[in-house]
Amino acid sequence: MGGDFGQPSSGQPRADSGSEETIMTCDDARRMIARRADESGGDDWSAALDAHVSGCADCRTALDEQREVVAVLRSRPVAPVSATFSQRLAGRLDDASGWFGIADWRIWTFRVAPIAAALALVALLTSSSARTQTSTTTQTTAPITIDEWARSGLDASNASSVLWQREATTESLLESMVTGRPSAGAESNRVR
């Protein structure tokens, strides 16, 4: 009886517990034998397993062997923990809790993410509120006319004033745009 589950049994007669009761194959029995050997079985299949094992020598042997192994494994002495284990671990946990630990992405994911989300929400609401106030302020200010806007462009200190000068040459226009100041030539030809 050395095969894995799902393979045909060793050729021993299949046991059944009665004419109309559940028939347990050797493959089925092996899983239950593993549980029976370590006493973690259930009542629902216990009778069927008993019936099968009583009629199947291979499974009976397998059950005995499994019990032997369980007994040896359970007799394994527990490994002792060294006296310094707790102290060394405390140091490592302190490190993990400190700045080094904060760098761990899981900390950010699980602990800081909600805070970050809350801050983002506050920022969003604040920004939205500021936009509303700006909009209100703009509505209360008298609207600027096109003439006023054009005259503002005639300010000689403004580079864009060159745009309004009919006499401005291509060179002076380019110079004003590059330097951010009205060129000397353009200023002398400024429209008054």
């Binding site: 050395g2 894995d4 589950f5 092996r30 899983r31 239950m32 034998i33 593993a34 549980r35 050997a37 370590d38 973690s40 397998a62 062997e65 499994q66 032997e68 192994v69 369980v70 007994a71 040896v72 494994l73 359970r74 007799s75 394994r76 002495p77 527990v78 490994a79 923990v81 060294s82 284990f85 707790s86 060394r88 671990l89 405390a90 490592r92 946990l93 993990a96 809790s97 630990g101 761990d104 899981r106 900390i107 994911t109 699980f110 602990r111």
Partner: protein, 185 residues
């Protein structure tokens, strides 16, 4: 009902005291597991420490879908598997393994305490476990060494219970001839 639930919730909220209590409860079983799954390696305590550090870092994400004990064992298996994988690569590169069964004597330093029968017994069992494929070794260790029930093992290994039963059965079959000398003691 998870007996550790209150402590786990407190630890997840950032309480080191609560987590320290969890460490006190589980340091023995986790060191024991690390030794069993690394054939008594001298690295077992370091691995156990790494288990708790990882658990502390990720406990806030523990959603309580299983017991803390099951979850901690899953963390431990991940840490130990990574260690074994690194060790395997190292051995392949440097051809350091002198034992085809993977029981490299250099992995554990000779220790005077090995003379004691108890330690010899544990060492023999750990070495026998070390001959098993990973999936069989994990299953039988969690059941017969750690005492987890079949449902907990299925959750820790993330496989169906039927697979757990099958693995445990096959693992014991393979272990039986190796453990035969210990049975007579």
């Amino acid at each position: 009902m998870d007996a550790d639930r209150g402590l786990v919730e407190a630890a997840a909220a950032g309480s080191r005291d609560a987590f320290d209590e969890l460490v006190r409860r589980y340091q023995g079983p986790i060191v024991n597991l690390a030794r069993a799954l690394t054939a008594g390696s001298a690295d077992a305590e370091d691995l156990a420490q790494e288990v708790f550090v990882r658990a502390w870092r990720s406990i806030a994400g523990f959603r309580g879908e299983s017991t803390f004990r099951t979850w901690l064992h899953r963390v431990a298996l991940n840490v130990i598997h990574s260690h074994r994988s690194r060790l395997g690569r190292f051995r392949r590169v440097f051809q350091a393994s002198s034992d085809p069964e993977g029981n490299d004597a250099s992995e554990r330093a000779p220790d005077q305490s090995d003379l004691e029968e108890e330690l010899v017994r544990r060492d023999a069992i750990d070495r026998a476990l070390g001959t098993l494929p990973d999936d069989l070794r994990d299953a039988v260790t969690l059941r017969d060494i750690q005492g987890l029930d079949y449902r907990e093992i299925a959750a820790a290994l993330q496989v169906p219970i039927g697979t757990v039963e099958s693995r445990i059965f096959r693992a014991r079959q393979r272990l039986r001839p190796l453990l035969e000398p210990l049975r007579r003691r």
